[in-house]
Amino acid sequence: MESMTFKDFATKWSMGLILIVAYVFLYMPILHILFASLSNHPNFPYPPDFNPKSYVSLTTNSIYQGAFINSMIIATCTAILSTVMGFLATIGVLRFAGRRALFYAVFFAGPLFVSEILLGISSMSLYYLVFGLQGNMVTAIIANSVHTFSFSFLVMAAMLYKYDWRMNEAAIVCGATPLRAFREVMLPLTWSGILGSLIVAFVLALNGLDISFYLLGATPTMPSVAWGALRYGVKPELYALSSIVNVVVFLAIIWLYLKVRADKTATAE
């Protein structure tokens, strides 16, 4: 490598400084509400104390419990549907699309370029106003899946494009059925991509407000209850809920990281 001049050094660390400022900016609000959720003075929780009363009142609040169950159902079904569709799409584009790969890839990434609120409103228009159907969990799951589908597709495409398809063929030549080749060869090797897609789709559907809001009507979800509560001022329970979600997301991401790193070491050996 070229030797470091002072100018290189200055460029490097001014970029580094922007990075540090950005990460502090991204994480400071999250830490702030974590402290606030644990404090007796939620508005200005410094120095931090540790009082779990907002968590206790969250668990005894029945509105949040119903909303939590609805959100979990939507998020789970969305994650599965969007990962299955995304998996088909990824393999379709990588393996079967040939010269039209780019066309299909752009089409499958399309929902990324239509904002969530527009997806929610347009789906509502279709189901409710054109067909006269009331919004329900099924339509909410489908509409959420359209949004997360693009994320699933991109996550899996990024992780699968180095996959060597000859492995499937080798397994089939050795006498495995295509299903067995998929289950015993392909699935273990592509598991981190699938896991990444499941996590991303699950969490996006769990925390997204706009899409579910327009398709569910009066059925509460966690984000819609949080949004409703905002009108009456932020309460410590909201901080507690938010902190729990952040910690869960953080752990899921760590899990994904360990999984990807384990895969890398396994291939390196």
Partner: protein, 288 residues
């Protein structure tokens, strides 16, 4: 690849997701257009074809103001994000070493917390009694008025919401970029800024444009951030659209606003993607 069932596979793997998207993504957008050409009276849909909604949107000053405000906001936010995201992404790719993956995954945590919870967190920072102003008051200083219930607060919120997305897109683009090209340019005598503007920037332009669009499009139609943080003069187009579907019950007009937003998103996509070559972005892998 001459498997006997290749055609069946192709049908399954390509046509199933295509049908899924057509039914639940394209068809709703068509429904939105249809609805925008009808009318709503007293919370009921009147099935009469008319351009009235679009005339209203094009003539009433309030809607024009909201739209211009949204457009200016979206342009400012996305340009700012691109300028900030570049050094961050570049630093991670160039100097991140084995911590690259950690850095990029740490961006995903705030992104995945969802818009509502992130706005609550941000309100804890910016609000009248939040960390910044609370701290200033405690130190005996005057609170910063411009970060409370104003368009600046909304701007900060958009930067907060979409920074992870923009950084990730540019990061993926740079990750696929062959850094040896810069050494080659340097060996040929190019200076630092020339290497950047003639090698690094043009070869990562497509990733940059996608990053720009992924901030621009949701900002253009955002409804939650301005409603919560924007204050009295902060109404944006998406927020007004949400009100048509909520309180006012004028769905057809709201649908027309939705069509305007979709058309604008598509137009910005088409205009900017003339400069895009998807093969040079992080989302390759389609090329073998």
């Amino acid at each position: 690849m001459s498997e006997p069932n290749a055609a069946t596979n192709k049908r399954l793997f390509l046509y199933v997701p295509t049908t899924f998207l057509f039914l639940f993504f394209v068809l709703p957008l068509i429904a939105l257009v249809v609805l925008s050409l009808w009318q709503t009276e007293n919370y009921k849909i009147v099935h009469e074809w008319t351009m009235m909604n679009y005339v209203t949107l094009a003539t009433e000053t309030a809607y024009i103001t909201f739209f211009v405000r949204s457009l200016v906001m979206a342009i400012l936010v996305s340009i700012f994000l691109v300028i900030v995201a570049w050094p961050i992404a570049f630093f991670i790719v160039r100097f991140g070493g084995k911590y690259k993956l950690i850095f990029s995954l740490l961006l995903a945590v705030p992104f995945l917390s969802g818009e509502v919870l992130r706005l609550i967190a941000l309100q804890g920072m910016l609000g009248p009694a939040g960390l910044i102003n609370g701290g200033l008051i405690r130190l005996g200083a005057a609170p910063l008025r411009f970060i409370m219930y104003s368009n600046s607060a909304t701007f900060i919120a958009f930067v907060y919401l979409y920074l992870p997305m923009t950084v990730t897109t540019i990061y993926l683009s740079l990750l696929n970029f062959d850094m040896r090209l810069t050494s080659a340019a340097s060996a040929c005598g190019a200076g630092r800024s020339r290497i950047f503007f003639e090698v690094i920037w043009p070869l990562n332009l497509s990733g940059t444009i996608i990053g720009f669009l992924l901030a621009f499009i949701p900002t253009l139609s955002a409804s939650l951030a301005p409603r919560f943080l924007g204050g009295p003069n902060g109404t944006l187009y998406g927020m007004s659209m949400a009100q048509q579907f909520g309180e006012s019950g004028t769905w057809a007009l709201g649908a027309a606003m939705g069509v305007v937003l979709v058309l604008f998103s598509v137009a910005s996509l088409v205009v900017l993607s003339r400069a895009v070559n998807l093969r040079r972005t992080g989302f390759t892998g389609m090329e073998r």
